[in-house]
C-alpha cells in the first residue's frame, strides 16, 4: 500500500510511483534514468521515504525526504481537557520520548497555572530525563545504527557475529531502563510525574542501588566507546556547517531547562520559541521546514554538544576525545557519536544528582493542590532528539483552549533535506546499494522520531501560516467549545 500523499507533487521524475511500491526499503529502478525509492525507511521511529532521481548519466538529480506518517491531531485531542490529564495525553505522542513530552507538558501547565514544584521534584525530573536520554540513545546506537556500521540489515544477526559488543550495549540499555523505572516508575508513559510534584518517590535504598549500578557501568561505557571509536571510519566523511540550536545554561549541560541558544543567534528565553522555530513551506517539500537565521538548523545531541561541550563531565569529555568528536563538529553523521558522549555524561550527572538527593534526604511531599485558573505557559526540554516545546493556553476551569507542540524532528526536516542536497553530488555514480545506504544512514543519524513530528506536515506546498497559532496570539472570541 502506498502511503505517499495523494495530491500532486512538483517534479515529474521525483514523483513516487502511484502503484504498489516495492517492498519496504528496497530500491526500485525504472527505465529512463533511475529512481531509488526507499519506501518507509527502516530502523527509525515512524514512517519516512527517501526518493532519489538519477538521470541516464548516473548523476543524481534530486533527493527528497518525505514524511507520509498518519497525522494524529494531538493539539485537537487535548482541546477541552483538564490540566490533570494533559501530560498523560501528550505523553502518547511518542513512546520513546514519553518522559520528555511529559516534562515539557508539565512545565507548560505549571507555568500557566502558577504551580511551583519543589527543588526535590526538579532534581527527580532531571534524573528522569537522564534515564530517558540514556534509554533512547542506547537503543538508537545499539539496535538501529550499529547494524549499518557492521553491514547487516538488523540487530538480529549481530547476536551471532558480535555477541560481546551487542550484549554490552544491551546491558547498558537495560541499566538505562532500570534507572528510568526506579525514578519514573515505568520506562514508557510513566505515572509518577504529575503537575506540581511526584505521585510516588523512589526509596533511598533504590537510589543507592541504582547509583551503584551506574557507577559499575563505567567499564561497559568504556567498552562501548572503544567499539564506536573503532567504527568511526565507517561514518561517511561529510561536512556541512549549519546552525545549531539547543538549550543553554550557565549551570550545567542543560536538558531540563535553560534558554534557547544558537551557534548563530543571540540567546532567548524559552517562551520566545516561535522566534527561533520559524516555520515555512517550500514547493518541493511535503513537510514544513523550520529556520532561524540560516537556511535551516539542527537540534539534537550534536547541537547540544556543539553548544555546551564545556559543561560536560570529565569522563564524557574523555570519551569525546576517544571517538574523535571535537566542538563545532559539522558532520551530521557524528550525531551518533555525540549521543554516546551524552550517555556517559548522563551517567556522571545522575550520580551527582542522586548524591545530592541522598545527602539532603528524600522528603515525602503532600499530593499537590492546584487551583485551576486561566493562563498561558511554555515548556522547553531537551529530549533525545533535540529541543522540544509545548505551549498551552488554559481557561478559567483549567481546561485547554489552545495547544502547540513543536517537536525536534520537525525542526530537523529542513536540515536533513539540505544535507541530502549537498551530500548527493558527492556520491553520484556509486552503486545503488551504496547510495541507498549512505542516504539512509544520514537520515538515521538524526534519529528522526517521525510519529512525533507529523502534526506539522503540510502537503499543499504553498505559502501559509501554521494551523495551530501560538497562545500569544489567540483569535478573538474563540471559546473552548469551538
Amino acid at each position: 500500500m502506498n502511503d505517499a500523499p495523494k495530491n500532486a507533487r512538483p517534479g515529474k521524475k521525483a514523483t513516487a510511483p502511484k502503484e504498489t511500491p516495492p517492498p519496504t526499503s528496497e530500491a526500485s529502478v525504472d527505465k529512463q534514468g533511475k529512481q531509488i525509492f526507499v519506501h518507509h525507511l527502516t530502523r527509525v521511529e515512524g514512517h519516512g521515504n527517501i526518493v532519489v532521481s538519477i538521470d541516464h548519466n548516473d548523476k543524481i538529480e534530486t533527493c527528497r525526504w518525505e514524511v507520509p506518517e498518519a497525522p494524529r491531531f494531538f493539539e485537537a485531542m487535548v482541546l477541552g481537557r483538564s490540566w490533570r490529564d494533559i501530560h498523560h495525553i501528550t505523553s502518547r505522542i511518542c513512546g520513546i520520548c514519553s518522559i520528555g513530552h511529559q516534562l515539557a507538558s508539565l512545565q507548560a501547565t505549571e507555568e500557566a497555572l502558577a504551580i511551583r514544584p519543589s527543588e526535590q521534584t526538579h532534581v527527580l525530573r532531571k534524573l528522569a530525563l537522564h534515564g530517558e536520554n540514556m534509554q533512547s540513545h542506547l537503543l538508537h546506537l545499539g539496535y538501529l545504527v550499529l547494524p549499518d556500521l557492521l553491514n547487516v540489515d538488523s540487530v538480529i544477526p549481530l547476536a551471532q557475529s558480535h555477541p560481546k559488543e551487542l550484549k554490552n550495549l544491551i546491558a547498558l540499555h537495560r541499566l538505562a531502563n532500570e534507572f528510568s523505572r526506579v525514578i519514573s516508575g515505568r520506562t514508557t508513559h510513566p505515572q509518577r510525574l504529575i503537575p506540581g510534584g511526584m505521585g510516588k518517590l523512589p526509596t533511598a535504598e533504590e537510589l543507592k542501588d541504582i547509583r551503584k549500578q551506574l557507577e559499575d557501568s563505567v567499564p561497559k561505557l568504556k567498552a562501548a566507546a572503544e567499539l564506536f571509536a573503532a567504527l568511526r571510519e565507517k561514518f561517511p566523511d561529510f561536512e556541512r556547517p549549519t546552525e545549531y540550536v539547543a538549550l543553554v545554561s550557565e549551570a550545567e549541560y542543560p536538558l531540563y531547562w535553560g534558554d534557547i541558544g544558537s551557534s548563530h543567534d543571540k540567546r532567548k528565553p524559552a517562551r520566545f520559541y516561535m522566534d527561533t522555530a520559524k516555520e515555512y513551506m517550500v514547493p518541493h517539500s511535503t513537510a514544513k521546514w523550520a529556520r532561524n537565521v540560516k537556511q535551516s538548523y539542527m537540534v539534537g545531541a550534536l547541537a547540544r554538544y556543539n553548544l555546551n561541550h564545556a559543561m560536560l563531565h570529565p569522563l564524557a569529555r574523555k570519551v569525546a576525545d576517544q571517538v574523535g568528536l571535537t566542538p563545532m563538529s559539522t558532520n551530521p553523521y557524528f550525531n551518533n557519536l555525540a549521543q554516546l558522549v551524552e550517555v556517559v555524561h548522563s551517567v556522571e550527572d545522575s550520580i551527582r544528582h542522586i548524591d545530592r538527593l541522598l545527602t539532603k534526604g528524600l522528603k515525602r511531599e503532600p499530593y499537590p493542590k492546584v487551583e485551576p485558573r486561566a493562563g498561558k505557559g511554555v515548556g522547553a526540554v531537551e529530549v533525545p532528539r533535540g529541543l522540544l516545546f509545548h505551549a498551552y493556553e488554559y481557561d478559567d476551569d483549567g481546561r485547554i483552549v489552545r495547544a502547540d507542540c513543536v517537536i525536534p524532528t520537525n525542526q530537523n526536516h529542513a536540515n536533513i533535506q539540505h544535507d541530502l542536497d549537498e551530500l548527493t553530488p558527492t556520491i553520484s555514480g556509486k552503486s545503488e546499494a551504496e547510495i541507498e545506504l549512505t542516504l539512509s544512514m544520514l537520515v538515521r543519524a538524526y534519529d528522526p522520531c517521525i510519529s512525533c513530528s507529523t502534526h506539522l506536515i503540510d502537503m499543499s506546498g504553498q505559502e501559509g501560516g501554521r494551523g495551530v497559532r501560538f497562545v500569544r496570539e489567540p483569535k478573538a472570541g474563540e471559546s473552548r467549545k469551538a
Binding site: N2, V44, G185, R192
Partner: protein
C-alpha cells in the same frame, strides 16, 4: 530436520510505537525469543519485509482509508493477527479526536490546509479486520507479551484476564482511589496490568479497555453519586481511552 521457525512480523499504524519499544526492552530475553522465531518484518528494528506471516503484531489505530487497505492486505498474509496495545485494541488516545467534529480537529491542527489530509475517525484494528488475539495496555506489559507469544507459538489460544482491575489492585494492596477522593476507572477496566498505574500513585485510566460485561451505568453511579465527581470529570476519564466503545460517554 527441525521445523521451520514461525514467521513473525510487526507493523505500526497511528501510534507512538511504545508497544514495539516494550519488545525491544525485553533485552536479553528478546535474544532468547529470537532463537524460536524468524522476524520477517519489523520496520523499527530491521530492513526488509517478506510475507506471508504466521503471526502479525499490529500496533496503532486505523485513521485513514489507505491504512485500512494496508491492514487488510496484512490480514490476508497472516495466519494469526494480534493487536498490540491500546491504540490497536480499543482505539485508545487516538479516539479523543473523534469527539470533535472533523472540521474542528482538522482546522485546529492544519488550518486552511486541512483538506489536504486523509483522515477519518480513529478506530481500533478490530473495527477493520478480524483480530485473533489482543494484547491490551498503554503500553503493553512485557511479561504478558512474552506469555501470549509463547502460547501462540505452542498453538494455544491465549487467555487474557476478564475481571476488573480492582481485583488485582486489592491483591497488590493499594488504597482505593475513591477513599483518597480521586476518580478511578479500575472498577470497570480489564485487569492484567497488576494495577500498575494505581501502584505508581496515579489512578486507573482504563487503557486496557472495559472488562467483559462492565456495567457503565453502575460505574457512573459510583463516580458521580458516591464519589461526588461531576459529570464532566467522569466523562473526562471515560473518554480518555474508551472513545471507540458504543456506550454513551
Amino acid at each position: 530436520m527441525a521445523k521451520a521457525k514461525p514467521r513473525v512480523a510487526f507493523f505500526d499504524f497511528a501510534g507512538c510505537e511504545g508497544d514495539q519499544l516494550q519488545i525491544a526492552n525485553l533485552e536479553e530475553t528478546l535474544l532468547d525469543l529470537l532463537e524460536h522465531i524468524e522476524v520477517v518484518a519489523f520496520r523499527e528494528v530491521k530492513t526488509g519485509d517478506e510475507p506471508p506471516y504466521d503471526i502479525a503484531f499490529i500496533e496503532g489505530s486505523i485513521t485513514r482509508p489507505q491504512d485500512e487497505a494496508r491492514v487488510k492486505e496484512i490480514r490476508k498474509q497472516s495466519t494469526f493477527l494480534v493487536a498490540l496495545g491500546a491504540c490497536a485494541t480499543i482505539g485508545g488516545i487516538n479516539c479523543l479526536k473523534n469527539f470533535h467534529s472533523e472540521a474542528i480537529y482538522r482546522t485546529q491542527v492544519y488550518g486552511d490546509r486541512a483538506r489536504w489530509y486523509d483522515t477519518y475517525p480513529a478506530r481500533p484494528v478490530g473495527a477493520v479486520v478480524k483480530v485473533d488475539a489482543e494484547l491490551h495496555g498503554c503500553p503493553i506489559d512485557r511479561s504478558e507479551f512474552l506469555r501470549v507469544t509463547k502460547e501462540l507459538l505452542l498453538g494455544k489460544r491465549p487467555w487474557i484476564p476478564d475481571y476488573p482491575v480492582c481485583v488485582e489492585c486489592k491483591e497488590v494492596g493499594n488504597i482505593c482511589r475513591y477513599d483518597l477522593g480521586r476518580p478511578c476507572l479500575g472498577i470497570v477496566s480489564r485487569a492484567g496490568c497488576k494495577a500498575c498505574c494505581v501502584t505508581e500513585g496515579a489512578t486507573c485510566w482504563g487503557c486496557r479497555g472495559l472488562a467483559p460485561h462492565a456495567n457503565l451505568d453502575a460505574a457512573r453511579y459510583v463516580m458521580e453519586d458516591i464519589g461526588g465527581f461531576s459529570r464532566e470529570e467522569a466523562q473526562d476519564l471515560m473518554r480518555l481511552y474508551l472513545g471507540w466503545t458504543q456506550a454513551p460517554l
